[in-house]
C-alpha cells in the first residue's frame, strides 16, 4: 500500500491553506484529494466579491480567492488529485478513494487533515407541507446551475432563509432577469451580513420579510406558488396570516451542515452543536493525528477565517508528523449562557495563546464575554454587538491559560 506523511481530504480553501502551511513547516510527502474537477471548493461557484478582506486586504471574488491558493499549490508543487472521491477512512488512517483512471486506491497516512466542507440543509429538514413539484432548490444548487452551467432555474422566485447564500442568490437571479418576490426569514433578524442585505436586497427593492416562513408548497409538476405566513415568537405560523405568492421557484437558504460522514466513519467524537469534530486548539480531533478545519469543522461565514483555521491545522499536523506536537494539558471548553458553540472544545497545551471562536444564540448589544473556570472569572472582553450570523472570538494568552484551575472553562455572554 502507498504511504504518505500527510493526506488532505478536500481541496477547498481549507484544504489548500492547510497544505500550504504544512509544506511551509517542512512536510513534503503530502497529497490533496479533491472530488471535483478543480481545486477551490465551493468558492468556484461563489462568483461574487467579498472574499479576502482580512487575508489579502483586498476584495476578491470566490474564484479569485481560490486562485491565490491554487497558485501557491502549483508554485510549490504540492501534489493533488482531482475527480477523486474519498469514500472511506479507517481508524488506522487508511484512506480509500475512487476515480475513473485508477479505480479504487488505498493510501496509508501518518496524519490526515479533514477539509470536506459542508452541505446545505434541504427541504426535507424543514418539513414544509404541500406537494413536491420541480422548482425547489437549495440556494447553492441554484448557484451551481447559474454560475457554473449557465442555466436559469426559474423566473419568479421566493427565497426562504436570509443567510448570505440566499441574499447573494437574490441579487444573482435579479441580475439575470428573474423577479425575486421576497426573502422570508423565520427569525426576527437576518443571519446574513448587513452589507449583503443592502447590496443584494435593498439595491433591487426586494422585500425582506422577517418573522415569516413558507408554510405550504403549491403546484403539481412545476412549482406554482407558496403560502407565506407570519410566525409567533416560538417560530410557529400564526393562523390567519397566510398569504399566497405566485412563483415558479423556491430557493432554500436555511443553513449549512458540516459534511462529516467520513469523520463519523472513523469513530471521531462529534460536537452536537457544531456538527463537526470536537477538536483542541491544534484542530486535532479525538483520533490522534487526524485534524479538521474549515466548514467541515464548523460553518464559517468568512473564508478568511477558514484559511486562518487551516493554517493552524496544517502547522499542527506538520508538528505531529515530526513528533514535535506537545500535549501537556487537558482543559475542556464549554459554551454557556447565550453561546451556541465554541471551537476549540479542548485546550491541550498552555505553551501558546489560544483563540476561542464562538457564536451567540441571539443578537445582543453591549456585550460582555466572560470566561470562567470552576472558581473564578479568568478572562473578560467586550463587544458592541454580536449576531448569531457572525462568528466572534476571544484570545486567551499563555498566562491566562496557566492560571486556570480545574480542567474546565466555560464561555458565556451577557448583553442586552
Amino acid at each position: 500500500m502507498q504511504t504518505k506523511d500527510l493526506v488532505i481530504i478536500g481541496g477547498g480553501p481549507a484544504g489548500m491553506a492547510a497544505a500550504v502551511s504544512a509544506y511551509g513547516k517542512g512536510i513534503r510527502d503530502l497529497l490533496i484529494i479533491e472530488r471535483d474537477e478543480s481545486l477551490g471548493g465551493i468558492l468556484q461557484q461563489c462568483i461574487h466579491n467579498g472574499f479576502g478582506l482580512h487575508m489579502f486586504k483586498e476584495e476578491l471574488t470566490g474564484p479569485e480567492y481560490a486562485w491565490r491558493y491554487e497558485k501557491m499549490i502549483l508554485d510549490l508543487g504540492i501534489p493533488f488529485k482531482l475527480n477523486s472521491m474519498v469514500v472511506d477512512i479507517s481508524k488506522d488512517k487508511v484512506i480509500t478513494y475512487v476515480n475513473e483512471e485508477e479505480g479504487e486506491v488505498k493510501i496509508k497516512a501518518k496524519a490526515i487533515i479533514l477539509a470536506m466542507g459542508c452541505r446545505e440543509r434541504s427541504r426535507g429538514a424543514l418539513n414544509i407541507p404541500g406537494t413536491r413539484p420541480a422548482g425547489i432548490y437549495t440556494a447553492g444548487t441554484a448557484q451551481k446551475f447559474i454560475n457554473m452551467m449557465g442555466l436559469m432555474v426559474g423566473r419568479q422566485v421566493v427565497i426562504l432563509g436570509s443567510g448570505d447564500i440566499g441574499l447573494i442568490m437574490a441579487r444573482r437571479m435579479t441580475l439575470e432577469g428573474a423577479s425575486v418576490k421576497a426573502v422570508c426569514e423565520i427569525m426576527p433578524y437576518s443571519s446574513g451580513l448587513a452589507r449583503n442585505i443592502v447590496q443584494c436586497l435593498d439595491d433591487f427593492n426586494i422585500p425582506l420579510k422577517l418573522g415569516h416562513t413558507v408554510t405550504k408548497i403549491h403546484g403539481k409538476d412545476r412549482l406554482e406558488g407558496v403560502t407565506i405566513s407570519k410566525v409567533d415568537e416560538n417560530r410557529r405560523p400564526i393562523p390567519g396570516t397566510e398569504e399566497y405568492t405566485e412563483c415558479d421557484t423556491l430557493l432554500l437558504s436555511v443553513g449549512l451542515i458540516p459534511e462529516n460522514e467520513l469523520t463519523k466513519g472513523m469513530g471521531i467524537e462529534l460536537d452536537g452543536s457544531t456538527r463537526g469534530a470536537v477538536v483542541d486548539q491544534n484542530r486535532e480531533t479525538s483520533l490522534e493525528g487526524v485534524f479538521s478545519c474549515g466548514n467541515v469543522l464548523h460553518v464559517h461565514d468568512l473564508v478568511d477565517y477558514v484559511s486562518e483555521e487551516a493554517y493552524i491545522a496544517g502547522e499542527a499536523a506538520a508538528r505531529y508528523i515530526k513528533g514535535e506536537r506537545v500535549k501537556n494539558n487537558n482543559i475542556s471548553v464549554t459554551a454557556s449562557d447565550n453561546v451556541s458553540y465554541v471551537v476549540p472544545q479542548r485546550i491541550t497545551s498552555d505553551k501558546e495563546k489560544v483563540k476561542i471562536y464562538f457564536r451567540t444564540k441571539n443578537e445582543l448589544d453591549n456585550v460582555q464575554i466572560i470566561v470562567s473556570d470552576c472558581e473564578n472569572v479568568v478572562y473578560k472582553a467586550k463587544r458592541r454587538k454580536t449576531k448569531p450570523g457572525e462568528m466572534e472570538y476571544v484570545t486567551m494568552a499563555e498566562d491566562v491559560l496557566n492560571n486556570i484551575k480545574g480542567n474546565e472553562i466555560s464561555l458565556k455572554v451577557i448583553g442586552e
Binding site: R35, S122, G130, F145, M152
Partner: protein
C-alpha cells in the same frame, strides 16, 4: 396489432402481473398514465412484507398476504432487489390491549402465519432497546420483512420487459370500448387494442371499471403521510414497530428501511381528492407524537424528507378481484397488504385468465434474470451522488435498463442518487446533464417527474 393482454396501471400489482404473464407466449402491454412505473401507492407505502395476522381470516387479503409473504424472499432474489427479514412487533401499552394481541395471534395462526409469539416488556427491551418503557407486551412476528416498494415494482416491470412486455408511459386511459371481441383502449397517446384487459389502476380502478359499464364499486383514497429519517439513525430500531391496530388501520409504525433509513408513519385519513398527496402540518405532528409513544429518543431534527401515499380503499375492505365483463379483470381495492400480496395476486390472475380461455404456453426463451445495460467500467468510479455514493455508471445504467428512467425522479428511485441527506442538492446538476446527454435532449427539456416539471427554465445568453 392486437395485444393478448393489456394491463392498465404500472404499480406493483400491474408490474407483478405483467412479469407473471411474461413467462408465456403472449403479447402483453402495460399502460401507465405517469412518466414512470410505481408512481401511485406503490412508491409511497411502508414497504412492509406483512406476516399476515392482520387480515380477517377467509378474506382475499388474508389469503394473498400469506401466500405473497411466502413468495417474496425468492422473488426479490430473482429480481436482485433488497429484502430483509427483520421481524415485526405489535406493542400493547395497556393490560386490556393484551387481548387484542391474543386475537391477532390466533388470527395469524388461523391464516397460516408461522413464527408468532407474544412477549413481555423485558423481552421487548432485550430485542429493541429504544422501544418505549411503557410497552407491556408485544406480538412478535419473526416472518415480518421489509422491501423497497418501488425498487421491487421497477425490477418486476423491468424483468417483464426483458421478456417482451411493452410499457406505454404517459398514456392515460380515457375510455374503453369493445369491438369484435377485442377491446379498444383509448389513451392520451393513441388507441391500443387487446383481447384481455386487467384493471390495476389503483385509485382509479373504479373509473376504469366504469368504462366497461361496471359501477358496482367506488374507491376512496385514504391518505398516509410519512417522515423519513437520516441514515445516521440506522439501528434506532431493528424490527418494524406497530401499536395495536384501530379501525383506521395499523397506525403509525417505526421501521428501518432496506436502505438503512428510519421510516415513521403512516397517518390514516379518508379524503376525497385522489391527487392530494400533499403532506400536512397536522399529519406531520401526528406522526411525531405517535412515533414518540412507541420509540424513545427519536431525533426529529434528522428528518430528511416527508411524503404521502394514498390507499385505494373500498367499502367492504377486502381486495376486489372480479370479472364484471368477459375477458376484463378488476384488481381493485388493493390497499394494504397489497405490496405483500402482489406476487400471489399475479399468479391468481394468470389462473383466472386461463379459466377465461387464454392459452398459456411457456416461453422457451424466457430469461429468469434481468438484463442490465452494460456501462464502461471506469464510469462506476466516477461519483455523482456523494450522500448515497452513486456513480455515473449506475445512472447511465438506469437510463438504459428496462424500465428506462427518463426523469430525474426516476433516476432517484433506481439509483438513490438524490435520496440521501442532501436530497439532490449536490448531485442534481450532474444528473440533469447526464440525462440530457444520454437521452439526446437539451438540458432545458430534462424533467423532474411528469408533465411540465422542467428543472431549468432557460439558458443564460
Amino acid at each position: 396489432m392486437v395485444y393478448d393482454v393489456a394491463i392498465i396501471g404500472a404499480g406493483v400489482t400491474g408490474a407483478m402481473t405483467a412479469r407473471e404473464l411474461s413467462r408465456y407466449e403472449l403479447s402483453v402491454c402495460v399502460i401507465e398514465k405517469e412518466s414512470d412505473v410505481a408512481m401511485g401507492a406503490s412508491k409511497a407505502n411502508s414497504g412492509i412484507v406483512h406476516a399476515g395476522f392482520d387480515a380477517k381470516s377467509g378474506t382475499l387479503k388474508a389469503r394473498f398476504n400469506v401466500e405473497g409473504s411466502l413468495m417474496m424472499e425468492k422473488i426479490t432474489k430473482e429480481l436482485g432487489v433488497k429484502y430483509k427479514r427483520n421481524g415485526s412487533m405489535v406493542l400493547a401499552f395497556r393490560e386490556e390491549e393484551r387481548d387484542v394481541l391474543l386475537e391477532l395471534y390466533e388470527r395469524g395462526i388461523r391464516n397460516g402465519v408461522g413464527g408468532l409469539e407474544i412477549i413481555n416488556g423485558e423481552r421487548i427491551r432485550e430485542l429493541e432497546e429504544n422501544v418505549s418503557d411503557k410497552a407491556l407486551y408485544a406480538l412478535h412476528a419473526k416472518t415480518g420483512a421489509i422491501v423497497c416498494p418501488y425498487e421491487l415494482t421497477i425490477a418486476a416491470m423491468g424483468h417483464a420487459m426483458d421478456n417482451g412486455v411493452e410499457l406505454f408511459l404517459e398514456s392515460r386511459v380515457l375510455d374503453i370500448s369493445c369491438d369484435n371481441g377485442a377491446f379498444e383502449v383509448e389513451t392520451t397517446k393513441g388507441t391500443i387494442k387487446a383481447r384481455y384487459i386487467i384493471n390495476a389502476a389503483g385509485l382509479y380502478a373504479d373509473k376504469i371499471s366504469r368504462m366497461v359499464g361496471d359501477d358496482s364499486f367506488e374507491i376512496t383514497p385514504r391518505k398516509g403521510e410519512y417522515l423519513l429519517l437520516d441514515k445516521e439513525l440506522c439501528g434506532l430500531v431493528g424490527h418494524t414497530i406497530f401499536k395495536v391496530p384501530t379501525k383506521m388501520g395499523k397506525g403509525v409504525l417505526v421501521s428501518p428501511t432496506v436502505d438503512g433509513n428510519i421510516l415513521l408513519g403512516p397517518t390514516s385519513e379518508d379524503i376525497y381528492d385522489k391527487e392530494d398527496t400533499q403532506t400536512t402540518r397536522v399529519g406531520i405532528e401526528k406522526i411525531i407524537n405517535s412515533a414518540a409513544e412507541c420509540v424513545k429518543n427519536i431525533p426529529f431534527g434528522s428528518v430528511i424528507t416527508s411524503f404521502t401515499g394514498l390507499r385505494a380503499t373500498t367499502k367492504n375492505g377486502d381486495f376486489l378481484i372480479t370479472a364484471p365483463k368477459p375477458n376484463f379483470l378488476n384488481l381493485a381495492g388493493i390497499d394494504s397488504p397489497g405490496l405483500t400480496a402482489a406476487p400471489a395476486i399475479a399468479v391468481h390472475v394468470s389462473n383466472m385468465l386461463k379459466d377465461m380461455g387464454l392459452e398459456l404456453v411457456e416461453k422457451k426463451d424466457y430469461t429468469s434474470t434481468r438484463k442490465i445495460y452494460q456501462v464502461e467500467k471506469s464510469r462506476y468510479n466516477k461519483m455523482v451522488c456523494r450522500c448515497e455514493k452513486v456513480s455515473e455508471g449506475k445512472i447511465i445504467e438506469a437510463i438504459h435498463t428496462n424500465p428506462k428512467a427518463i426523469t430525474v425522479d426516476a433516476i432517484k428511485r433506481r439509483t438513490r442518487s438524490g435520496m440521501g441527506r442532501c436530497q439532490g442538492g449536490f448531485c442534481m446538476p450532474s444528473v440533469v446533464s447526464i440525462l440530457a446527454r444520454e437521452l439526446g435532449i437539451d438540458v432545458c427539456e430534462v424533467r423532474k417527474s411528469g408533465g411540465d416539471s422542467r428543472i431549468v427554465v432557460g439558458k443564460k445568453e
